[in-house]
């Protein structure tokens, strides 16, 4: 395989220019600046320039630093996934469900655990939708149940079984102390323990979620910031119909 070596770009190829900002728990002064330079060098940078330092508090100094990254990276070795689905709009999706699935598609969604953020899951599910794109409740061919926030894994599963959901949407916004990872995992493990993981498509979402993370956690797909409802609906129907 051929190589495609890359480095950060400032104003010239391979100059490696990077902008950093951080705080060290030391008093401002020449010694602190020196420490910032040395520390940045230890991160594998050269030509380190501390262009700004300011005192935040006694024994805390904040720096803005420009430096050149030393390593190069072979871009050919980098792999990442994005959710694979065809780009479809509201009308195309409805007609696909109607003609190919021959019944309504059932979707249940919730924000689980102690997370109280609903705006994200609402953006995908509520009538109004997001960024001019209608939400799943608006689709005549979709039966959508939005359970809101702070829903337990057990309750989400019970509702999904009750309405025979095709897909379950799980939202997580708070990521402090990796609470999102814990909550996502708890839900998958619950399905696995009951031996019903294959009954549903599992879709994770939230501002700090990407497809790779979701797959790693045992979900079928993950959607991040800026997702529109049609992307989610298209993914689910394509997956159900195996197209």
């Amino acid at each position: 395989m051929s190589e495609q070596m890359i480095k950060p770009y400032g104003d010239t190829f391979d100059d490696g220019q990077v902008q950093l900002s951080f705080t060290l728990p030391v008093e401002i002064g020449a010694r602190a600046t020196k420490a910032a330079i040395k520390y940045t060098e230890s991160l594998n940078f050269k030509d380190v320039a501390v262009v700004h330092s300011s005192k935040l508090a006694d024994n805390f100094t904040c720096f803005v630093v420009y430096a050149k990254g030393i390593p190069s990276l072979n871009y050919k070795n980098i792999e990442a996934t994005e959710v694979e689905s065809t780009q479809m709009d509201y009308y195309e999706i409805n007609s696909l469900i109607k003609t190919k699935l021959n019944r309504q598609m059932v979707v249940v969604g919730a924000t689980i655990g102690s997370d109280a953020h609903t705006v994200g899951i609402d953006a995908i599910m509520n009538m109004k939708g997001y960024n001019g794109d209608y939400g799943l409740e608006r689709y005549p061919e979709i039966q959508a149940f939005n359970l809101g926030s702070q829903v337990t894994a057990e309750k989400l599963l019970a509702k999904s079984l009750e309405v025979k959901a095709d897909a379950i949407l799980v939202s997580q916004t708070v990521t402090q102390k990796d609470s999102h990872i814990r909550n996502f995992t708890e839900f998958v493990e619950l399905l696995e323990a009951e031996n019903i993981r294959d009954k549903f498509l599992l879709v994770a979402g939230g501002p700090r979620i990407n497809n790779d993370l979701a797959i790693e956690l045992g979900y079928n797909a993950g959607f991040g910031a800026g997702t529109t409802p049609n992307q989610v609906a298209a993914f689910i129907i394509c997956k159900l119909l195996n197209i």
Binding site: T23, A57, F60, C62, V174, Q176, A225
Partner: protein, 519 residues
């Protein structure tokens, strides 16, 4: 000065509607009390501490009354009787009650006169506590003057009160005038106030009396170093509004988040509970000179800031009317609103100016609490920093009271120390460079800004008269605020609500209401 010409008849009308709405709620409030209010009374009488398993004594005592079916007469009278029996201070008396060594809620061997006299001693103690905090704060403000408004309000939220101290001092150094310690996730749903110093919270630090004390001491030190008064804020919301107000008063806090409807709408706390609790908590704030901060900004995190603008104003008016019933002065009402219009909207900044000026015009003597953009903050921190700059400009131009710092990393994480410093640099620059802009410019007669303010006012007239007709409780159950429906008998904390019996006594309420001096 940036002055809006508004229809005066509409203003009279909305104030009247709000007053009527509040008075109907007050009729209900006056004949009820809650477990949380009775616990607050005990705290103001000097009860504090926890039992061996960590349950707060105020809870244990009120539980005893509830179990005995004696709650309807309130905690005050029974506790006075126990004090006579124990002949010890309030805290020790509570411990003795808890250990079953003296009786509580039983018929007493002391005469009614003796008990009433003891109750008066306790009430004087409570009122003196509230008057003393007021006085201590004013004394400090003579030495360290209150800064000019808008006051710069910064949040710390490490989950460790000792770490919070460091962060707070750093913020004060960069220019913060007000420090809020954000609470641990979901504290609002606890039906007790946790005890002691917090070293590990979730998304924040528990509101406890000990944490209040630790932070107050730290800020007093910052005050000396930086030569200006620094206010301390916490949250009197959720299931323990009144108790937290009591603890906050004891520890010299300056402001409390305290809204008459927030808990109902956003925390699913029962509306009866919230209305009753907010009344007593506000009486405490009024006497202790604690500025309340109301939560209208939250409406705009779920509703659109243009479509929902009138609900913000309507809620401010209701909060104000209920505040007045609870003796709060204009100067103690930090009514809330927010800069949350979608930045994609053409002339959005002009609409923000219209909304902010309308609030200022309606509540000229109140320290309005102005929230920065949050919902439309981008993970592009450079862009978000510019959004905050526009917010800062709107705030200084329209002379807001309490200015919550917008943080460039809002869409990413709870702020780092350096994020706060950058936010404050932004504010300091704009507040200084545009200091008197608002005194110099006028809004064009009939222009976009004036028209928008007039439009919102018109919507408020219709909205409030609608609520006045159905009543506030019913209006909330119909989803009139923030599109959230809450039933009158649903939600958390209803089990703590009770109707005052014929012998109910809470002399603290009477003393504050009648402005009685107790020294």
């Amino acid at each position: 000065m940036t002055h809006l010409t508004l229809d005066q008849k509409s203003i009279i009308k909305i104030r009247k509607s709000a007053k009527n709405i509040a008075s109907v709620v007050d009729d209900f409030v006056q004949i009820h009390s809650t477990t949380s209010i009775e616990r607050a009374v005990l705290r103001l009488y000097g009860v504090d501490g926890v039992d061996l398993s960590g349950v707060p004594l105020p809870n244990k005592l009120v539980d005893i009354l509830q179990t005995k079916g004696k709650l309807e007469s309130g905690a005050s009278y029974h506790f006075a009787a126990s004090m006579l029996e124990s002949k010890r201070d309030a805290k020790t008396t509570a411990e003795l009650i808890d250990q079953g060594k003296i009786s509580f809620g039983e018929s007493s061997s002391f005469s009614v006169e003796q008990i009433l006299k003891q109750e008066q001693v306790l009430t004087n103690f409570a009122i003196n506590t509230l008057d003393n905090t007021r006085k201590r704060k004013l004394d400090k403000q003579k030495q360290f003057p209150l800064p000019e408004a808008p006051w710069k309000y910064l949040i710390v939220a490490t989950g460790n009160i000792y770490e919070d101290r460091v962060q707070a001092d750093a913020a004060v150094r960069s220019g913060a005038d007000v420090i809020a310690v954000i609470r641990s996730t979901a504290q609002s749903l606890l039906d007790y106030v946790p005890y002691g110093a917090t070293k590990e919270g979730f998304g924040g630090t528990f509101a406890t009396q000990e944490n209040f004390k630790i932070m107050r001491q730290a800020l007093d030190k910052s005050m000396q170093t930086h030569g200006r008064y620094v206010s301390l804020v916490n949250y009197s919301s959720g299931l323990c509004m009144a108790e937290i107000a009591a603890s906050a008063a004891i520890e010299d806090l300056d402001m409390l988040l305290n809204d008459s409807m927030y808990g109902i709408l956003f925390r699913d706390i029962n509306m009866q509970r919230t209305f009753i609790d907010q009344y007593f908590s506000r009486l405490i704030c009024a006497r202790a000179n604690i500025i309340i901060n109301t939560g209208e900004d939250n409406y705009l995190t779920t509703a659109d800031a243009i479509e929902g603008a009138h609900t913000v104003t309507a809620s401010q008016l209701i909060n104000e009317a209920m505040g007045k019933v609870a003796m709060l002065t204009d100067e103690q009402m930090g009514l809330g609103h927010a800069f949350e219009i979608d930045p994609q909207v053409e002339n959005g900044f002009l609409l923000e100016l219209a909304h902010a000026s309308l609030a200022k015009a309606l509540f000229p003597n109140s320290p309005l609490k102005y929230m920065p953009p949050t919902k439309h903050k981008s993970t592009d921190v450079f862009y978000s920093h510019v959004l905050d700059a526009m917010f800062n400009l709107a705030s200084i131009t329209t002379k807001q009271g309490i200015h919550l710092a917008g943080i460039l990393t809002e869409a990413i994480h709870t702020p780092f120390m350096q994020d706060r410093a950058k936010a404050l640099n932004n504010i300091n620059y704009i507040f200084n460079t545009a200091k008197n802009l608002g005194d110099e410019i006028e809004f064009k007669k009939g222009g976009l800004i004036e028209q928008r303010a007039g439009q919102v006012l018109k919507e408020v007239v219709a909205f409030l008269s609608d609520i006045e007709n159905v009543g506030l409780m019913k209006a909330i159950s119909q989803g009139k605020f923030a599109n959230i429906k809450r039933e009158i008998k649903a939600g958390k904390g209803l089990d703590g609500v009770f109707k005052k019996g014929p012998n109910y006594s809470n002399p603290i309420i009477e003393a504050i209401k009648n402005n009685r001096s107790c020294s």
